[in-house]
Amino acid sequence: MNTRVVGSRVVREDAWGKVFGQTKFPADVNLPDQLYGVVVRSPHPHARVRSVVIEQAMGLPGVVTVLTAKDVPSNSHGVLFRDQPVLAEYIRMVGDPIAVVGAETLELARAAANLVVVDYEVLPAVFDPEEAMTPDVLPLHPALRPTNVLYHMPIRRGSMVEGWARADVVVEQEYSTQHVDHAFLQPEAVLAHVDERGHMVVQTATQYAHYDRGEIAQALGLRFSQVQVKTMAVGGAFGGREDISLQIMAALMAWTTLRPVKMENTREESFYSHSKRHPMKMHYKTGATKDGKLVAMEARIVGDAGAYASWSINVLRKSAVHATGPYEIPNVSVDSYAVFTNNPFSGAMRGFGAAQTVLAYESQMDLLAKALGISPLEIRQRNMFKVGSTTATGQVLTGSVPLDQCLEKISPYLQSGVDSELVQLKLNIGESTPTEAEQGTPTVNSRKLSHRMKRRGIGLGCAWYGTGYGNGFPDVSSAFVEIHDDGSATVLTGAVDVGQGSNSIYAQIVAEELGLQSEDICVYTGDTDATPDSGTTAATRQTYNTGNAVLKAVRQAKVRLLDYAAHKFSCPTAEGIELEAGFIGVKGDPSRRMPLEDMVFQARLQGERFISAESSTALSTPVDLETGQGAPYWPYAFGCQMAEVEVDTETGLVRVLRVVAVHDVGKALNPTQVEGQIAGGVTQGIGYALLEELELHEGKIKNPAFSSYLIPTALDVPNIEAFFVEDPECTGPFGAKGLGEPAMLPTISAVINAINNAVGVRITSLPATPEKILAALADKKEELG
């Protein structure tokens, strides 16, 4: 399909405001006479609140209110179940909010929060999911589940007896992953006030304004129509802004005091007030025939849901469905569990359950390749999904399944022995230490001496990712389009741009259809008083799903416009009318055309408007509860990456030198944004694989700071070469699929496999710290005697 605006490197409409520092994040807005809210949080992982004494805090001049559980009309919220208290009386994790103090200044509110006296009955806590699963451990949510097992998803396909009987080679290994924080740069903030209509107005940064509205209304006992959630600029999300953090507390205080309320997390508070990526233990057993065909796979996956359900069911379902990797395996048995503990609650994070299993299945592939004496590329090509393949849940993959094209594109980069120094790096940043930087200063003689202890290696990782809500849950997006009298247009949708650039994508889609430029399109999103609910910005669904809704909406408006024009130009059908470069007219007849604005204005004078509202629903089917069979997601996105690493055998430090990433995007609606998603995903993947780990001691976070929770810096990222494969997905807008989450998946296993390639040790638990690498090297040395 020839497109003009779609597929081009349109500049993001929001970028200018951001480079000038004009863009308002929620911390940047204030109202006269606002109160400052500060939360009192539990230091205990499991406790009952016996009493909260607020008199001392209230006694501080300037303190206006202290709210506790008894002040919340309906004291709960949650994405799947309302199992999370707004203000807790029963504590299930360190950081559970108990009270919120409102005062005239932030300093006063902080001081008063320290004066709130909470008497706790400390209860025994459980931190290990395996232990929490046992029947003798008391359930944390007896109203939800009789035990701490929140969810179990089995997948049963084929016959394991037959599968193992056919297997010539079997590899079995346990893998584990860590708690990870989203570490978005903007800490949660909110400004709530009751406006002149008597409505509750909440300005915040969220992934889903309409969800926040519902939870606020529910907790306060208001109608949806009385609550406006207006999304300010969102400073990164990655799944961490799906659950409610401060929104209800601020709204409640504004509602009870009738004063504007500002709340803003410090970085430490932020660590305690949003979800975490699920740590998982994954036991894998995989068998293949001697000609390299996978025949059997068994996996047991236990995910730590932490204190609240959040998205755990969906996350562990995603783990199960994606457990095989993008490979055909006829005999599969998977058991995936989500288990409550007193750890920080786990929820959505980029990759959503598929980011953990990629470590396991891709490590297994390399182990099998080694056992069979074939290359990592070969074993993947022999087993990869193709059009017509059947997944472990029995879903037949139709349409776009271009993993073969991705692998073909990456294969030239997998030639071992290619010295990466010979490859002309486009951007050679972060290659060496800064000692030679300054003019007039001596250069370092040689670094070769320490290089002797360094080994390089390359690794391959593949991944697949089912986009959308999945499992039969109606995945609906909506959009309103209006073509203005001057020929420009506005699109309204609830879909929040969390920084990834979806607003620009919608502008491109509308411009494409109307023969305009994307600057001619106003995109307004994430305001519940003005935009229709378009679902959450998650599950890699906004380009695909809301993109579809926007496309349907603009086409509907366009149909009426074309009909009107056909009538105007005495053209028998609307088929004969075209919109191009701001003109509307009869195809092939330059004499019968006029500026779009003239046409729209004439229509206006005759009482005709071009306005539309449309929804688009992506379909999936729920899986069978006993066998896991079903078609839980659509579409699936695929990708593969090569990582080259250098491992210092003396210090165990790993540096990623180069990543080549090839991703299936259906159609790149904006190549610049595709590259941006890939580079961002690769970097988060590197952080996950090598650096990031939330350290917990009895449920308490030991490193709730950016100086101790380490994410990659500009010097830690390699040269990233991003490629994409365009194999159109017929259900997507202009053939597009989403990319946000898949981009980080292959990196994880590519890095881990590259470490193995470099120094011959296999790291099975993330992150691959220098400690683990040195310990593994020592073990290997011992084995070799």
Partner: protein
């Protein structure tokens, strides 16, 4: 809280004597500690407006670096790279550009974190600290100062550092988890006297191996007065591992650090010894 901005050293010293104040250097640690409530000074004496304290001066026998010279200034100084290469190196990788623009060498000593990047190079280079105490001026070896607790009385001003100009070859390396904004998990500074193919006196200082950076006498003795070759490096690797093992005892980080220090030592030495192990 009171805030003083003296314009001269004598004014600063006088303020320290007459008020209950803390000195404020660059503030990259102190301001943070004030925010978290870890320290609550009654008054601050901001040394930032005393130009003299920022100077880097080449004297006959030593290089004097004012306590308020920032890591960025030291890291851009040719005098430092010529006379104290290890320190110059440490200044390239400490924190981030923003922190290096504000953090000072004097503050690095005053705060005295176990991982302070500036201290191992100063120790290895035999630096002395120039103090202004209640009694007057005092020059004391950094190695001796680092043994005392508290480091200096509250009213003692760290005036600067004197690094002997002995033509030592020196190098510094640190082990951090990332390439920037990395707190040293281990750091090694080595300084040697070169006499033809022989090494004379050798000084090795370690950071992030215990409460404070220290100069290892054991290593100095073990490595001094020998032929400079690959075997010397391997001996150094072995010895430094032993020193770290003893220093860390059964701390949780010990099993890793006592091994990994080998790579850090090797990199510090590689700063001035090319492949093959002999000097150019």
């Amino acid at each position: 809280m009171k805030y003083f901005q003296p314009r001269s050293v004598s004014e600063a010293v006088e303020l320290a004597r007459t008020t209950e104040s803390s000195f404020l250097a660059g503030g990259t640690d102190l301001v943070l500690h004030m925010q978290t409530g870890k320290v609550q000074p009654k008054a601050l004496i901001d040394l930032g407006k005393i130009a003299k304290l920022r100077e880097i001066i080449e004297a006959e026998d030593y290089l004097e670096i004012g306590s308020m010279a920032t890591f960025a200034e030291i890291g851009q100084s040719n005098l430092v790279s010529q006379n104290a290469f290890a320190l110059w190196q440490a200044c390239q990788t400490m924190g981030s550009p923003q922190i290096r623009n504000k953090a000072t060498l004097g503050g690095n000593l005053g705060n005295c974190s176990p991982a302070a990047d500036g201290l191992p190079p100063l120790l290895a280079l035999g630096a002395e600290v120039h103090l202004i105490t209640r009694e007057g001026e005092e020059i004391i070896p950094l190695a001796s100062l680092l043994i005392s607790t508290p480091l200096v009385p509250q009213d003692t001003l760290i005036r600067g550092f004197r690094i002997p100009r002995k033509g030592l070859q020196s190098g510094f390396a640190k082990l951090g988890r990332r390439q920037a904004l990395a707190i040293a998990r281990l750091s090694v500074a080595v300084a040697i006297e070169v006499k033809g193919k022989q090494v004379g006196k050798v000084s090795v200082a370690l950071g992030a191996v215990g409460r404070r950076a220290f100069l290892s006498e054991t290593l100095g003795l073990a490595l001094s007065g020998q032929e400079l070759n690959e075997a010397w490096i391997e001996k150094g690797v072995e010895e430094v591992q032993r020193v770290v093992r003893i220093a860390l005892g059964d701390r949780a980080s010990a099993p890793y650090k006592r091994v990994a220090v080998a790579g850090v030592f090797r990199e510090a030495v590689a700063s001035f010894i090319p492949e093959g192990g002999s000097m150019v």
